[in-house]
Chain length 400, copies 3
């Protein structure tokens, strides 16, 4: 086939070029550029309460893992397939000091050391020669974080001021239901389609405003004036909206590499610093979920941040209602399992997206040059990370 | 592995050669030989009533499209993915002069012109530089036709005498339930398996006669004498069956390229010219549907042409009944998602199939030589196409 | 990506090598090494009662076939796609001397000869020139066996002493519900994962003992002393377990190439020679089923050998119960659709598995050298094959 100038002038779909996805930015698989970049950071893989004496399946960055907690309270995150004959440890039994495979009873501790091989002479004379593949984990803010990258590059698990310093009566609560995703807990599209949304404040008055009725607060429904800036960890999005009383609603959202949503409550319950962090966990190349930890005054407050559409939860809506009242889920899953970058056309309002893609590309270059990507720290004594993110009321309207 | 002469003599399945499908005849994808041939003709993609202010998903020739009608009554058929960031326009809102994407509110008219970019300064100063991929459409006979090919090769949308000239009390009615397909509206096999069936009159007394009981009329249940001839648009199948009274039942069926079934009512309600046309729309390489437009005297007559098996509609039959009373659906879907041409063996009675494949191959050669395929017309003043197809009673039995 | 020595020392999953499956041992497709080895033997493809005048779908070694019995009682096993136009013979009608395709009525006998072509002049003058691909079958022990290999290599269908010589009141009964598979009739993983389990006596006291509670008998729950030996047909596994009364429980299990489980009743109902044979039929590369024939005294005895878990049949268990009481199904399907051989680590107790893989590899070499693989016989007068397999009580404990 050949297309002519007239086809291109008419702009019919017949004149479209072959589709292309920038998989170097989207794929999370070990050994790919983005897969390796993501593996230089800690990622949440479960709630603290997910690690029990019943093995739990975890899928993260395209890898199948098993999460458990031994009777000493230690959390283990092991490759799902037993290093003996490959049976999944999902059917294993958790014991005092490890997990035992159902097939031949090899037992592993939370760091993959093989403790017993009951079918072997003397309980396994060579058991030190095998090791169940595992990942280091740590618990913080009600979440279990895993580090899935190279040992020599393992950074400190960051602490965040917004989750360390409580206001009166506050405590930290965690949630795994993909608050902020606009739909169910597991969302069937590439993680970057969601993460880019964090640096896209312009969609708010459209998708969450005029389109489906104000999904957040009326204060958010007007088109903001926006400034995007690089931070030492990612991108800050500073929006101002002039209010009727002459004051200015000043809102700062941060996207922190590799996957953090530092987004103040869009329902603007209070004018204050950001109260929660969302981690966009890539499950694999075509699905993700969001873990959230936030300061609350009442148990369940995080869950109550969930959007409703036409007065209903997402899962209670009919197909016709999804079509009539689309939200983030519809907009992002509607881009397909992995969006087609070759078909995009950007405007001024997309400069946050472009800045994010450039920043991610720069990190890939940084990695290729054997340097550490943005925001990782190896200093265990570093202070907690402080964000600018929040909803504020100001008298002046300058965005400097 | 090597097979021996003895294997071949015995004819066991062990001696079978590797399977091969002639995808140059079956694949409907843009850029493939048949995909390009199909794109030189207009195809129905919906009923007139499918184009409303609620966007509707259409899949045709392997492409995902969105059909709608603006408030001025103009029909739009746009590439499903918004040219801005790729969100499907299925979640768009139809307005007076176009459709607006849910994500950032870009609005497009029915020819893909971008009318608004509400998140851009001044509503989008550069909006003329983008265009949503679209296809030209036209409405006729209760159907919406689309032209998905190169602009310079766009033919006239044909008119057909059998749908233009009414007998007393007749009007034209359209149907999208795949009348003639013998099953549900979407049929999970390649379109050519169905289209070849049109030039295969011999299966009628077997599949629709002795096998499942006469599915049509007893008059159709006897083996006909058949002559196949090329027409200026495809192939005419002329069958005669001698009747007990000495007269001759003369039936002409036409297959018109690229996908038209011009098949007189197989229940032979009357002896007359053909009353309907069926368009076999390839949805993609492994599914198709049929749109029909026909002259009727009562609303719903087209739907009443639907076959029953053992007194039941297809969807009410048990699996055992499908096995016992197979029809066109079972015979064609039973050939697999795309049939394996290397395993076929032809007889005299397959000469219609062979003629069709030669004709299609000739069209591919014609295209390769940069000439126009059979039956396309660029003359807007040409008279309506007249078919020979029909059921007739004759005194003489010659097929000349 | 590059992994460092520290990664390897730590043994994290980040240091894992790319996964590899030895498909030369697992794939059953015609033309592959194992596919060809499997095709040198007879395989059961149905119960005798499966062959009736209603065509039945059979999938074996990755091939889709149709099983039927003509009115003379002859069993036919034909390639599913009609050699005329490729419609499945599943919709065919069984007649006195063959099966007739629904589409154009070609009729084939049980050896694929074309008997009628009703749409052809004179009923098909050239019908001798086509042949429906077929496979030779034979009936024995309530099962239908097929030979799917090269004609010149077709061995005698073996007779087995354990199914030929009855004890008082015994008769042979067949079963197709995958007795021994620990789950449903069709098991979604590669056949070799199951077949290797036959030469793995060590898993018994773990998986079927301590793990899910004794699934068989207490006598089987202790760790045995085991010796593996090659036989003229495969591998014998000889286990002894010393009993409290000073006697010795001596159990011999045989794995007979290519797929036979010659396993005495694990519930040890009696001390005697083996009472049944199980054939592991590879359906395709990622699923299998088991046909069993055995000597019983009461109809249904074979079915009553089925394991229960926590007092329930497999299909009545909840997901939580499957996790808590895993059996062979969970252990083997838990290895994945096809296990990843590159991730395995063997111990002393795996020497049966290693012996089996070496033996299979030797057979592939034997085939490559144009010699016949182990256990095939072309001598129709050979005596029935006698197994050593059984549960026995002995006074002495030597395993010689």
């Amino acid at each position: 086939m050949t297309t002519t100038q007239r086809d291109r002038d008419l702009g019919t779909a017949y004149a479209m070029k072959p589709p292309h996805t920038r998989t170097e930015l989207t794929s999370v698989v070990r050994g790919t550029p983005m897969g390796e970049l993501l593996r230089r950071y800690w990622h949440p893989v479960g709630l603290t309460s997910d690690a029990t004496d019943t093995p739990k399946k975890v899928r993260a960055l395209g890898e199948d893992l098993i999460l458990f907690r031994d009777k000493h309270g230690r959390v283990g995150l092991l490759h799902a397939r037993c290093c003996h004959r490959g049976t999944t440890l999902y059917y294993g039994k958790v014991e005092e000091d490890g997990i035992r495979c159902c097939y031949h009873g090899w037992k592993f501790d939370t760091e993959g050391h093989c403790l017993e091989q009951p079918c072997e002479p003397d309980g396994g004379q060579f058991k030190d020669k095998v090791r169940q593949p595992w990942y280091p984990v740590d618990e913080r803010y009600g979440l279990i974080f895993a580090y899935m990258g190279p040992a020599e590059k393992r950074p400190v698990l960051p602490a965040y001021e917004c989750l360390e310093t409580m206001d009166d009566g506050e405590f930290v609560e965690a949630d795994d239901s993909s608050i902020g995703g606009g739909g169910p807990a597991v969302i069937p599209c590439n993680w970057l389609q969601h993460f880019e949304n964090v640096v896209d404040p312009y969609h708010v008055p459209v998708l969450h405003g005029s389109f489906s009725g104000p999904q957040f607060t009326n204060m958010m429904a007007s088109m903001p004036e926006v400034k995007f800036d690089k931070t030492p960890r990612g991108i800050a999005v500073r929006s101002i909206r002039k209010q009727d009383d002459g004051k200015v609603f000043y809102r700062v959202t941060e996207a922190v590499l590799p996957t953090l949503r530092v987004v103040p409550n869009p329902r603007v319950a209070q004018f204050a610093r950001v109260e929660s962090i969302g981690w966009t966990l890539p499950i694999d190349d075509t699905s993700f979920r969001i873990y959230v930890a936030g300061r609350v005054k009442n148990s369940g407050d995080i869950g109550r941040m969930r959007s409703k559409f036409n007065g209903k939860f997402w899962w209670d809506m009919t197909e016709a209602e999804h079509q009539q009242f689309p939200g983030d889920y519809e907009a992002q899953v509607g881009q397909g399992p992995q969006t087609i970058h070759s078909e995009e056309h950007f405007g001024q309002s997309d400069r946050g997206i472009l800045m994010m893609r450039r920043m991610l590309t720069e990190q890939l270059d940084t990695m290729a040059a054997d340097r550490d990507p943005i925001g990782v720290s190896f200093d265990a004594s570093a202070p907690a990370v402080e964000f600018e993110a929040g909803n504020y009321i100001r008298d002046s309207s300058s965005l400097s």
